[in-house]
């Protein structure tokens, strides 16, 4: 005897009926629609550590992005069937076209037949949504006798019509042939009472088992067309209700897992229970809801159902009643209800000994040790204190995951917080893609540390530009991967010595100096990085003067930004010798015939460093009458760094410019006016007005120049306080 149980995936009604039917028929063998490759994993369903929602992940070991998920919830008929078989101790197998054949098929082989049989019946019954129809006719039905016979009869009629209209595509034909073949095999093995749980649509195709040759031919033909792949693997992974919900876009999703779970768990007074749960959720959010509200909402939903000619209210009526009675007509709280209850926030778990790539086990073990959970329902923010060993370890772990391309956390440094002991991470909610990425990264190593190190090496080798490698170097340090560090550093050195592009070196330098400076916070050894930074700085100092010759305006502007950035980072090295080398280089830039913008900038940077003696001479030279007005203007622009504030607030600078202007004889002054005009026209009108006022009321400068009178007694008092503050900071563990 063969019992065909046609179901709808993830339907609580179907699940209940399946369980009931299995208890009635007591089969000696059970076949369930699903990937045959996952057969060895079925035994885990009986494991107490296994709690749905979970999913079977079937993937190709060499190409993990080619993967399929088969999610199961507690109320999935397939899950109930598997559990029944395990409890009753009867053999159970997945039947379908093996995925090794399925994966081999080109994806755009044939569009699967998309006609939805239930849409047609639902429309005929006066429902606009087939799900609702099924809900009413099957899922909410409490009486399950003869249900499957009726479904089969209905499907036979529907299939006959649909197949006459358009024959099923080759994939569907092959899948059904594979199911029939499996049925025949079970018969041959001597089972006499076989039950098959499959999608209702396929049930009619399993009625006629006579033509074995045709089925075999079909499958062989498919294998000829596309050679089956040989590296298919299967694993159980945890799943979430949110992912089960249709909007997440994985296969046969459903709108309302939470509601279905409720239908599965609650036998009587479904609506009253649901309304009470809703009231609890809304009360926690501060809405005043009494039991009287619950009673009225239940009554209204039942009256609505009666008005619409239904025996029981469904979600539509329930939501409308909640809105009218609980929320005063407001629909915002409904969104919360939808998220918390209708979809639900349940997350499944998988026994630790179920097969999974070692890397995944290591990640799970690490998560547990660090008391983190990957399975978040909502994005979260994690604040890490790097002074604590556990904080440091968490940070390393997150950086390692990032190196593996598992985009779970995103480090976020608040502006100005660099080099502090705080690290803030934004964690995203869980996505099945993580699992795929983990499997993908499995080829790199069996532990997070090993895989991340391998990934860092690989990325460093692949990166062709120095700044990119420097970035990888930074992450490698953050992730604390000493093994990979040497290789990445070697790559940096190799690129730094071979690249002739000073701009690239300069671009890389700030990052490198920062890394050298701030990684100390993490107690990692960065002397090598420091050495490297100094080395690159030396290269820059040597090559820079040459690189500043014959620059186009565009290139000069780019170099200008880089120079400013490098200059800002030099003090972080805290190395007097290097600072001196840099100053010498700047002086060379200022005095050689480089591009005006660079020359001006170098003069200015030197001036700011306190090497002001040469500034007036350099300015006179750059702005001499012999120099073309356009070139002079560019120099002035570089000197002012596009910043009027410096002129306004730095009297010294102002005076140099002023002195130069005053020193000019009248004809030369008139000749210089256009240059000044050009250099100043970039400033904001307000700044220009301020400069004009400054020019008129010059004396401000001399006031600033007056020698400062220091009251020693008062200064001492302030100094004492400062010392106290410093001590307090040291005591609290400041750097």
């Amino acid at each position: 005897m063969i019992t065909l149980l046609g179901i709808r995936h993830h339907g609580p009604g179907s699940a209940r009926s399946v369980r009931h039917a299995l208890h009635l028929t007591q089969p000696d063998c059970l076949l369930v629609e699903g990937p045959p490759e996952a057969d060895p994993l079925i035994s885990f369903t009986a494991d107490p550590a296994m709690t749905p929602p979970v999913a079977l992940l079937i993937y190709r070991e060499t190409q993990p992005t080619q993967a399929v998920f088969y999610p199961f919830a507690e109320f999935s008929p397939e899950w109930q069937a598997l559990r029944y078989a395990k409890d009753a101790g009867i053999p159970v197998h997945f039947v379908d076209l093996p995925l090794r054949q399925w994966f081999a098929l080109p994806t755009t082989d044939e569009t699967p037949s998309s006609a939805d049989p239930f849409a047609q019946i639902a429309a005929a019954a006066g429902y606009d949504d087939p799900e609702r129809w099924w809900d009413h006719v099957v899922e909410q039905r409490r009486d399950v006798r003869d249900l499957f016979l009726a479904i089969l009869e209905l499907m036979v009629a529907l299939r006959a019509e649909a197949d006459a209209h358009a024959p099923p595509d080759s994939l569907t034909r092959a899948r059904e042939a594979a199911m029939r073949t499996a049925l025949r095999r079970a018969q041959r093995e001597g089972f006499t009472n076989i039950a098959v749980v499959c999608g209702a649509w396929h049930a009619p195709a399993l009625l006629d088992l006579d033509n074995a040759q045709a089925d075999e031919r079909l499958i062989v033909e498919l294998s000829h067309r596309a050679r089956p792949v040989s590296d298919v693997r299967a694993a159980w992974i945890p799943w979430t209700y949110d992912r089960l919900a249709r909007h997440s876009g994985y296969g046969a999703g459903i709108d309302s897992p939470g509601w279905y779970e409720h239908l599965w768990n609650v036998e009587h007074d479904i609506v009253a229970h649901w309304m009470t749960r809703t009231a609890h959720v809304l009360r926690a959010e501060g809405l005043n809801l009494s039991p009287a509200h619950v009673i009225e909402a239940t009554r209204l939903s039942e009256a609505l159902a009666a008005l619409r000619g239904r025996s029981l209210p469904d979600l539509g009526e329930i939501e409308e009643a909640i809105q009218a009675v609980f929320c005063g007509g407001n629909d915002t709280p409904l969104r919360l209800i939808r998220k918390r209850l209708i979809i639900g926030q349940k997350i499944g778990s998988v026994p630790p000994d179920a097969p999974a790539p070692p890397l995944q086990r290591d990640i799970e073990a690490t998560l547990k040790r660090l008391r983190l959970t990957l399975y978040l329902n909502e994005p979260a923010v994690l604040e890490i204190d790097l002074r604590k060993p556990s904080g440091l370890e968490r940070s390393r772990f997150l950086h390692r995951l990032a190196l593996l391309g598992i985009a779970w956390g995103e480090a976020f440094t608040p502006p100005g917080a660099q080099g502090t002991f705080r690290e803030i991470w934004r964690l995203t909610d869980w996505a099945p893609e993580f699992v795929v990425r983990i499997i993908e990264a499995s080829r790199l190593g069996n532990t997070v540390e090993a895989a991340a190190a391998a990934s860092a090496r690989e990325q460093a080798l692949r990166a062709g530009r120095l700044p990119d490698v420097i970035e990888i170097l930074g992450v490698t340090l953050l992730a604390d991967l000493p093994d990979a560090l040497n290789d990445v550093l070697a790559r940096v050195e190799a690129l730094a010595s071979t690249t002739g592009d000073i701009a690239q070196l300069m671009q890389a330098l700030p990052g490198l100096i920062q890394t050298a400076r701030y990684s100390n916070v993490r107690k990692s050894d960065v002397t090598i990085v420091r050495t490297l930074a100094v080395e690159i700085l030396t290269r820059v100092c040597v090559g820079l003067p040459l690189a500043c010759m014959a620059l186009s305006d565009e290139a000069a502007k780019e170099l200008f930004e880089r120079l400013v950035a490098v200059h800002r980072h030099i003090p972080l090295l805290e190395d007097e010798a290097q600072t001196q080398t840099w100053r010498t280089t700047l002086a060379r830039l200022a005095d050689m015939p480089a591009h005006g913008l660079i020359q001006g900038l170098a003069t200015r940077l030197l001036h700011d460093e306190g090497e002001g003696s040469g500034t007036a001479i350099r300015m006179n030279r750059a702005l001499s009458p012999a120099v073309a007005p356009a070139t002079a203007a560019v120099w002035l622009e570089g000197f002012l760094s596009g910043d009027a504030l410096a002129l306004i607030h730095n009297p010294h600078l102002w005076r140099i410019l002023d002195d130069w202007l005053i020193s000019l004889p009248e004809p030369a002054f008139v000749a210089q006016l256009p240059i000044l005009r050009r250099a100043f026209q970039r400033f904001e009108p307000a700044a220009r007005r301020q400069l004009g006022e400054l020019a008129r009321n010059g004396p401000i400068i001399s006031m600033r120049e007056a020698p400062m009178q220091i009251d020693d007694a008062r200064a001492k008092r302030a100094l004492a306080l400062l010392r106290l503050i410093e001590q307090a900071e040291e005591a609290s563990g400041g750097r």
Binding site: A292, A306, L307, R308, Q323, V325, G328, G329, D331
Partner: protein, 360 residues
Amino acid sequence: MTNLLREHAEQAFAHELAELAAVDSRPRPPNWKLSPEAVVTYIMGGRLNNGFEITPKYIGNRRLIEVAVATLATDRALLLLGVPGTAKSWVSEHLAAAISGDSTLLVQGTAGMSEESLRYGWNYARLIAEGPSEQALVPSPIMIAMQTGRLARIEELTRIPADVQDTLISILSEKSLAIPELGREVQAIKGFNIIATANDRDKGVNEMSAALRRRFNTVVLPLPATLEDEVAIVRQRVEALGRALELPAEPPPLDEIRRIVTIFRELRSGQTIDGKTRLKAPGATLSAAEAISVITNGQALAAHFGNGRLSAEDVAAGLIGAVVKDPVHDTVAWKEYLEIVVKARDGWSDLYRACRELTD
């Protein structure tokens, strides 16, 4: 044609109600004239089994009306919320007409209202002459509804002072009204219920107490969802009003209605229908009800002073009057709209000219 300026719903649609009652075989709650299904059909319109066509009274979401009718069927009071012009009173009148056959048991909420309007008052001449007696008692519409098992309507519930509103609590929970002067009470008979309307955005509302709010199921009536819905509402109402006022003009051209509705929707939402241009939104509500009055006003102008055909000149004055409520801010919004949108739009030059003449 009747001589009445405005007929009650049960008068104007008496024929439809009679036809519905004749074919209605579903169970009716006690003292209901129609079954809940038939009430929904009456409001939303539809074709009966005998081919009789019921006109739609409310154009919008059927589910809202179903919630409203189901609420009344479960003996819960119904509160219709919405901004002005979302057909709250209209729906409430038709619900009362269809369920009780009588939409006249009406209390209009005002700020100066006292408890007597909700409970009962006295005929003071008799009170003084005879002392408290049945004859001296003047029952409120609510009391009459309780005694006869019909629906009472309260318009603008939130305008009523909060302490007076709370009189309703015992009426709604105990379903009885005590008359201590006579030492007796009125107990509501089956079929009694209250439909209240309130406008939650208007200024000067008296917030309902939580105790009272709990006794109402709330249905929010939204502004018309689409341009076509709104055009249908305006057209239907304008035609009905035109008939009632015996305006000799031809039925207003659909284009003109669509134009007015478009202007109203655009100004209301602060952007053009195509979403490309942002606009200043004037302070006026600009509901469908106001669009209706602009059109009927224009029709009257066309009939009496024009050639009988509704033209841009006829609607311009009413249009400006509807949009410009605040002479400073709204005028700016309107002029901007006129210059940016109306002037540039194809086929709208007649309207632009007519409005320019009046605006400057």
